[in-house]
């Protein structure tokens, strides 16, 4: 598979997963209505509203917020001309504007990109990655981060986080209602089919879990897409491949202040902690290396 078919396949899968999210919200709303009756009609817009405000607030301030959360410091061209040279190379290859650049003082090699659009983009590197990698490897990492910017992954993950958040809030509110007074309403609409009622209850309990799984799946697809787009920029899969090998060989992880931004790093800082592949935000690094190797062998 070359990078163009990779890109197309990943985009298709992201759309499918986002549609899955939509169906899930609809299912939860439906279950709420059957289980609790008309009194819950107002709850759906409230939950969606809360999720929208919290997630989109952070989406608009993504570049500034993430700086505070990771402790990254903005740097100027004079601070690291070599790094700026490398980033300029990738901006020329991608046709994107020059992003802001930041450095995190941390010996674990890692990097991330954020910002709501191309003009508010920020890419950050740990001091560890700048020390550990050579020119071609760093170029691959930069291309991967710029690919996230080009593919508007901050937007995609904000959409995913909003729906997952809304579902979590919704099912939380409804579970509480079951204990406090929800019963009365149920008595009044007693003519409901018991199978439908049980099914609704199951949906309400399982929905947050399903939403989390979908969110992680979307994140994994965006990582694969960024790898493919990075190759489209540099036409050099070997650089990113050997960069990922360096990351795979290194066992140190970034000293995270918050798990909520784990998905933005090029290598997940939560690796090993996650329960299974289904919950992780990144595809297994060996899998990513193999895909890039396959692209190399085409040349």
């Amino acid at each position: 598979m070359n990078f163009r078919t990779q890109q197309a396949a990943n985009r298709r899968k992201t759309i499918g997963l986002l549609m899955g999210m939509g169906v899930l919200v609809w299912l939860v709303a439906f279950a709420a209505l059957t289980y609790f009756g008309q009194t819950t009609t107002a709850i759906v817009p409230i939950a969606v509203g809360i999720a929208l405000v919290s997630v989109w607030g952070s989406y608009y301030g993504a570049d500034k917020l993430v700086l505070t959360m990771t402790g990254a410091k903005l740097i100027q061209e004079s601070d690291n001309p070599k790094l700026f040279g490398l980033i300029q190379e990738v901006t020329i290859a991608s046709g994107l504007p020059m992003p802001k650049v930041a450095v995190v003082v941390d010996s674990a090699p890692n990097a991330f990109a954020t910002g709501r659009n191309q003009d508010h983009a920020l890419i950050a590197f740990t001091t560890g990655i700048l020390d550990a990698m050579d020119r071609d490897q760093l170029q691959g990492v930069i291309a991967h981060e710029m690919a996230h910017i080009a593919n508007r992954d901050t937007l995609v993950s904000a959409v995913a986080a909003t729906t997952a958040g809304a579902i979590a809030i919704l099912s939380d509110m409804l579970t509480r209602m079951m204990w406090f007074g929800g019963g009365r309403d149920r008595d009044r609409n007693n003519n409901g089919n018991p199978i439908v009622l049980v099914a609704s209850l199951v949906i309400l309990i399982l929905a947050p879990l399903a939403a989390m799984l979908l969110k992680s799946a979307i994140s994994r697809k965006r990582e694969s897409l960024a790898d493919a787009t990075a190759v489209a920029f540099t036409r050099n899969p070997a650089g990113l491949r050997s960069a990922l090998e360096v990351l795979a060989a290194d066992s140190t992880v970034v000293q995270q202040k918050s798990n909520s931004i784990a998905h933005i790093w090029i290598e997940s800082p939560l690796d090993g902690k996650s329960v299974s592949k289904l919950f992780s935000t990144h595809p297994p690094i060996q899998e990513r290396i193999n895909v890039l190797k396959a692209m190399e062998s085409l040349s």
């Binding site: 020329i92 170029q139 692209m295 040349s299």
Partner: protein, 184 residues
């Protein structure tokens, strides 16, 4: 009454379609021009680096006059080129000549250790990459434009928009590191 509305609607749709095709061609053409400007910027930056680099190498390696001459000649040709084909040919020559110069430098340990040379070398490699990437970006844009000029429906509007096929930027260099690694 209804027939008039339908006719008007069809005309409005046709105009919208026409505008969209026309604008697409113009946009593609502008992208190619911008990509070309980027190539020129990067080639100029490389040309500006050369005198300094040659002087630095000369300070340590006085007896390599033929190499220096080759670099200076290639640079002169590159700065005077105007057409796409000429610029591309001169670009290839400069890349070759610079490679020769760096190979000469390998034989002089003092030169290789000097900080001035090291920073020039770093600047040269990033500039070489920028040249290569701007070339790649230009060719990608030319490919989109040429496809639009040749395929339905945009091909019907190409004449009206005064947009024609553009020339690819092809550098003759058997050793080119940036030869496409990936097949399309």
């Amino acid at each position: 009454m209804t027939t008039t509305l339908i006719v008007l609607g069809v005309i409005a749709l046709a105009i919208l379609f026409f505008v969209a095709q026309y604008n697409r061609l113009i946009r593609l053409n502008i992208s190619v021009n911008e990509a070309w400007a980027q190539i020129e910027v990067q080639l100029k930056r490389r040309a500006d680096l050369i005198p300094n680099l040659v002087e630095t190498v000369k300070g340590y390696a006085k007896h390599e006059q033929s190499t220096f001459d080759a670099v200076v000649a290639a640079r002169a040709k590159a700065t005077s080129a105007t057409t796409v084909a000429d610029t591309a040919a001169a670009d290839g020559m400069v890349t070759q000549a610079l490679r020769g110069l760096l190979a000469v430098a390998e034989a002089y340990p003092d030169l290789k250790a000097s900080t001035n040379f090291l920073s020039l070398q770093e600047e040269l490699s990033t500039t070489e990459n920028k040249v290569a990437f701007s070339r790649q970006f230009y060719n990608d844009n030319v490919r989109s434009l040429n496809t639009a000029v040749k395929t339905v429906p945009t091909n019907f509007f190409a004449g009206f928009a005064k947009v024609t096929e553009r020339e690819f930027y092809e550098v003759e260099d058997p050793q080119d590191r940036k030869a496409p690694n990936v097949k399309f």
